[in-house]
């Protein structure tokens, strides 16, 4: 029995649920008995989950705030759509899956290259400063695609996209979610993930312990951008047209809210939050029509503010402790919060979550406030 409690199945819960959902909806999807609203919702959920999981890698595990995730997605979406259109013209119908795969690769790699570019300033900037750079990056990418000549990416009208495999694109989407989760989770639960979280906890100590901070920061930004690019390509396949206005600042914030809501440093949390927010968004779109649509944007601000208050307000301390999942589990006697069983089980427990404000206000001052003088002349 005790063996059963320690078993490793807990770490696979997310995979199992995702696979179950894929099979369930896939079955009906293939029979064409799902209505449009459901398939669209599922497609959006898949995109959101990939985005949230990949952003969590940067924000939750590396501990750097990135406000430009939609920018990477934008690169992926545009290049993916362009590739798909070009390939469809040359290869013709019948090769949908091959075209999709090639587009995914092109979009992902292009975004990853941008990830390296944005990772470079991340080596020198921290906290709020880096956040501003990533924010600028997102906006710049969007306006580049908008302002390039119309023949290239369609300008402000948007890039033509291909929209086939209509009824079961979401199956491919969910498979991509599972792959993304597996790869990022495996990365985190390995010596490399440990190195990344050590940088988050103390960069100076990580350097002194011989961790190659430069390499890991770049690596994380690249991986994260790659999957954002994948999400972008997937997104482009759900659209008739890829429009630049989609990837604005608000979209980056939306992804960030998913990560914060689900808990930074918790991939399962990101998945749940992505589902929740996508669903809410969809429902609100139905309720809030016309002029009221503006209110939808308010939701994120509200969620963010409430979260920060909830996590920090001294008055809520007792309630927080009562309501924390860890302690609830302890009541069920399946879990002792003082013990973390990561030792014998063959997997790395994901490090504990960090709080919003830890990322938002990391030391603003540059690394060492004083630098040694260049050279001092020996007095004679």
């Amino acid at each position: 029995m005790s063996k059963f409690r320690n078993v490793k199945w807990k770490q696979y819960v997310a995979y199992l649920l995702l696979i179950a959902a894929t099979c369930y909806f896939g079955f009906f999807g293939l029979q064409r008995s799902l209505d449009r609203i459901t398939t669209i919702l599922l497609e959006k959920a898949a995109v959101a989950m990939i985005l949230a999981v990949s952003l969590n890698l940067v924000v939750g595990f590396l501990g750097e705030l990135s406000l430009g995730h939609a920018g990477f997605m934008c690169v992926g979406a545009y290049l993916g759509a362009k590739t798909a259109v070009a390939l469809t013209a040359s290869m013709g119908p019948g090769n949908e899956l091959v075209i999709l795969l090639i587009s995914l690769l092109v979009g992902g790699v292009a975004a990853a290259v941008c990830g390296v570019v944005i990772g470079l300033p991340a080596l020198r900037l921290r906290g709020d400063y880096l956040a501003i750079v990533t924010l600028a990056f997102g906006e710049i990418v969007r306006s580049i695609f908008e302002n390039l000549p119309d023949e290239m990416f369609g300008g402000s009208l948007g890039q033509q996209a291909v929209r086939y495999i209509r009824h079961h694109l979401f199956i491919i989407g969910f498979i991509l979610v599972i792959l993304t989760l597996a790869i990022i989770q495996n990365f985190i639960r390995s010596k490399h993930g440990r190195a990344v979280t050590s940088i988050r906890d103390s960069e100076i100590a990580a350097r002194a312990t011989g961790i190659n901070v430069t390499k890991y920061k770049l690596m994380v930004f690249t991986i994260s951008a790659f999957f954002a690019g994948i999400a972008g390509v997937l997104f482009s396949f759900t659209q008739n047209k890829v429009q630049p206005t989609t990837f604005d600042y608000n979209y980056s914030i939306e992804i960030l809210v998913m990560v914060v809501l689900g808990g930074m440093g918790s991939l399962n949390g990101s998945l749940i939050a992505a589902l929740l927010i996508t669903y809410l968004n969809e429902q609100l779109q139905i309720v809030l029509t016309g002029d009221l649509a503006v209110l939808r944007g308010l939701m994120y601000a509200l969620v963010m503010i409430l979260l920060v208050i909830y996590r920090n307000a001294p008055a809520l301390k007792v309630f927080r402790e009562k309501a924390s999942i860890k302690n609830l589990l302890a009541k069920l006697k399946t879990h002792d919060p003082s013990k973390i069983h990561d030792d014998e089980a063959s997997w790395d427990r994901v490090p504990t979550k960090i709080m919003v404000d830890e990322v938002l206000s990391v030391d603003i001052q540059p690394q060492s406030p004083y630098t040694p003088d260049k050279q001092w002349k020996e007095e004679k």
Partner: protein, 256 residues
């Protein structure tokens, strides 16, 4: 004749005109326990920061086993074999004790494992993880933290946090281990225990140890040789007993 592990020649640094350390020369032999003492603000931590690459020295050079490491990055210096602890503890607070040590093992050649090997969960990944965990346990056993291996680093009491820093530094298998006030904040019992641990470490891991400490009983009980610093300059250098009886040193400590 034992081999020289660390050799410092004419090392100096200044901050905005303030000469924090100047004209430092010292030589540490293999398996020696070397002490660096001096009043507050004497420049001891600054010396550590220079030989671990946090600061680039303004003058002078230092060698580890004959190799010039002046101006190298912190990572490189660690790979070459200098590990350190911090005066104000810097652990990976949101990680468990054992995982802190495993970060220290990260760069050991026997635990090499590529990123894709881990992502794809190839057999090599599991083998390496298991071996690292085993090795980390061995190191934790030496410093006496095996029982606490699964608690978070930030939940450890102060004295144990200091020991964990030592364990993490040891995990990088250094030639030279630099301890910055390892006994600070410990009670007499813990201090005594730490002295035994440090001696044990020297034997088991074959490391040379350079330590900063204010507790004179600790220093005279452990160190073979000393350098006494004051206002960035060397006051006395040599065998522990003699160095501590130097009139200059006594004056600096008592003041006057």
């Amino acid at each position: 004749m034992a081999e020289t592990v660390l050799k410092i020649e004419n090392l100096g640094i200044s901050f905005g005109g303030l000469k924090a350390v100047q004209n430092l020369n010292l030589e540490i032999k293999e398996k020696q326990l070397y002490g660096l003492v001096g009043p507050n603000g004497a420049g001891k931590t600054t010396v550590f920061n220079m030989i671990t690459g946090v600061y680039k020295p303004t003058t002078g050079t230092f060698y580890l086993c004959g190799e010039n490491l002046t101006g190298k990055s912190q990572e490189t210096i660690n790979h070459k074999g200098i590990a350190r602890t911090f005066q104000n503890i810097r652990l990976f607070n949101n990680m468990t004790v054992i995982r802190n040590v495993m970060v220290g093992l990260h760069n050991q050649p026997e635990y090499k494992c590529g990123m894709f090997t881990s992502m794809l969960r190839l057999p090599r990944h599991f083998k390496v993880e298991k071996a690292m965990r085993q090795r980390a346990k061995e190191i934790l056993e030496v410093v006496g933290l095996l029982e606490e291996r699964n608690s978070l680093a930030c939940n450890l009491p102060y004295g144990k946090q200091r020991k964990l820093e030592i364990a993490r530094a040891l995990a990088t298998s250094p030639k030279l281990l630099c301890l910055d006030e390892p006994a600070a904040g410990m009670n007499p019992h813990e201090t005594q225990e730490l002295m035994d641990i440090i001696r044990l470490i020297r034997e088991q891991f074959n490391v040379t140890i350079l330590l900063i400490e204010h507790d004179m009983k600790f220093v005279s009980g452990l160190c073979d040789e000393l350098t006494v610093l004051n206002f960035g300059t060397v006051l006395a250098q040599g065998e522990t007993k003699e160095a501590l009886q130097d009139p200059e040193v006594i004056r600096a400590y008592i003041g006057g």
